[in-house]
Symmetry: C2
Subunit: 442 residues, 2 copies
Amino acid sequence: MAKVEPRVLKGFRDYLPPVMIPRRRMLERIERTFQRFGFLPLMTPALEYLDILTGKYGDEGETLLYRFKDQGERDVALRYDLTVPLARVVAQYPSEITLPFRRYQVAPVWRAEKPARGRFREFVQCDGDIVGSKDMAADAELVDLARELLRDLGVERFKVRISNRRVLTGLMEKIGVPAGTAEMGILRVIDKLPKIGEEETARLLREECGLREDQVRAVFEFLDARGDAASILERLRTLFPEGSAGRQGADELAEVFSILGDSAGSDVEIDLSIARGLNYYTGTIYEAFLTDLAGFGAVLAGGRYDRLIGIFRGEDIPGVGISLGIDRLLEGLIELGLLREERSVAPILVVVFEGMAPRAAAVARLLRAGGIACEIFPGQAKLRKQFRHADETGKRWVVIQGPDEAAGGMVKVKDLESGVEETVAVDGLTAYFTARGAAGAT
Amino acid sequence: MAKVEPRVLKGFRDYLPPVMIPRRRMLERIERTFQRFGFLPLMTPALEYLDILTGKYGDEGETLLYRFKDQGERDVALRYDLTVPLARVVAQYPSEITLPFRRYQVAPVWRAEKPARGRFREFVQCDGDIVGSKDMAADAELVDLARELLRDLGVERFKVRISNRRVLTGLMEKIGVPAGTAEMGILRVIDKLPKIGEEETARLLREECGLREDQVRAVFEFLDARGDAASILERLRTLFPEGSAGRQGADELAEVFSILGDSAGSDVEIDLSIARGLNYYTGTIYEAFLTDLAGFGAVLAGGRYDRLIGIFRGEDIPGVGISLGIDRLLEGLIELGLLREERSVAPILVVVFEGMAPRAAAVARLLRAGGIACEIFPGQAKLRKQFRHADETGKRWVVIQGPDEAAGGMVKVKDLESGVEETVAVDGLTAYFTARGAAGAT
């Protein structure tokens, strides 16, 4: 058979063990954080009927769907996010889901995007959502969750930025843009501002969205609002009359900050330039950034979607959620030097003395039964080769049992760090390693 | 917008929280077991170039691939298993992978099969493989791993059945069937024996594989060998002459049992009727079954593939692995009543007193900072409604802080099991719940 060139598709990646070991630990931590907040795990299929996914993300999102006909000629697509599948689930199992419902899902999504730094075609999203509450307490809770997710992963320097779609609707009203398609087009251009810069944004607003120069100026002036939450909220209240969409957005933002109270600290701020590109957001919108990686893009994002579930259910059920992009965050942590590659999940190699494979297997079995992780060299090889393997795979100890040790119910243990060699009774081997901190998973 | 009917594709499933909570725990245990055996985590993309996957599984497998053209007109397919992607990875990164290499991968695979009891079109495989060793010590180690994976999941009654493809090749030689395509066709029919029964198997062997009646009889007589490993091995040695493929297979089987020694016990046995349908196996083959669910099919399977990596590498690198089908196992455990649905991951609901949302959020924040998992009711609602929510979502305790308690730095805690209500100082709340076993993840 002709050799097939081993390769991966553009925008897709293999995670080899040195990165996958800490990535695994990150994913486990994330699930623990979700559970600490009482979020319940959910899993949905990678493939959905195409019509479940279309009409929710906007035109641009839809061109990025991996779609095809399956063996039964059904139109199907790989999921683009975890929010639309959640909306489907909530609508599909009304009697099995108690509202308000908080769920998390950690799973890959697929988007045929142009690959770029920190942007992949397959990436794992870690989503937490609260469904069935219109109350800003839910929106505030997700800010808490966002911060704890990042902190539990060892990220200390980050900003969670909040805005509200209604504030942007208010702005559109102010400058005389009708709600609907025109508004959504402008929001999507605004969403690209950090990526494409002010000049290109202004050009698109003029040429693609048809805004006049004074309208463009008004947009920039608005987005550029700086200051603490209180002063921005004050300004919004002045700008938007009572009863307007903009005022409602401002009041909702104020409510979120009121519930967060002092805990908001300096890592939560209002940023009116956040727009989010997806169609389904209706209220609060979030983004979170690594402070030390400007221009890297958001590692977490989300928002409120009070009309998405209604598409599947007939009646609206409100929802709000955040999504942590673990793979982009991982890239960021590597760039920042905050993530260290690792070579091993087991600190011990059981070396096999010639002709003693069954005894070596028994020693490994004993250690594992005692909760000590170990690798056994799979086969016969010169001892020097096996010791080199221990070294190359990052082992701390080597255990070996030759005929003499076996006869006396002993093994030899070599500490590769100190070079010290000891003879230890097989009976006491688990205790020996437990005392040296070798027990437990990585 | 017209309502879209919420539904999932045939053969695909949503895992709602009551099943997903214990499933999550199973997946976490599985990863810990792999790590205890020193297996390193790996992750590969869901989508591969089509030619990476074709030509390895056999004709039947190939018809089950979900394949399509992506946006760049590339022929791509969803992965069918985790073994072929591993073979690609080993060939692709020779300088980054130290042989012998043991890796695990826990990930979904996709097969457009006819859905049936315990058979799905998307299911998670948990694979452990040892690459770079021809030694039967590796094959024996995987038997150990298979048993520990099942035991760690609480499965006590199972059988790991072993055979060797070379023994079947020996049988084919004996009855005069040439190696290659004809042999593989017969193996695939034999593989279906437990599913389709003896009569249908005999018919297929005659009509599709062209065997004579005496050949069919010889096949059944061979497959039906019963007894302990020693007596089956003795019989194989008598049947197959020194230097034949059949004898090599028998010797390899004997070597695996020699390394397992007494530990093999009664839950490992030789079963010559195991064939495995996949083309790539060359030696040892494994299957494991739940003793109490006859006819349910294998929950774990695998084997040795010494020529698969060569397709990508040019030179052969031996490999052997097992794959645990967590989703079929989960179905089995549910059928056996060994898996209990769960409603909650957090034992506490923080109830929100009207107008006191910021205080309630602060109490939740405090508990979580102390490692106590809690849910907070997301919004304002009548206390009765919030208590009912606690009950419906399986909470053990409710915490509430009204204005009086807040003024005194206290909260009320109600134990929903005993009905007892206590007033507890906010400062001591974490300790209060830790003492009652509420800390830690589920």
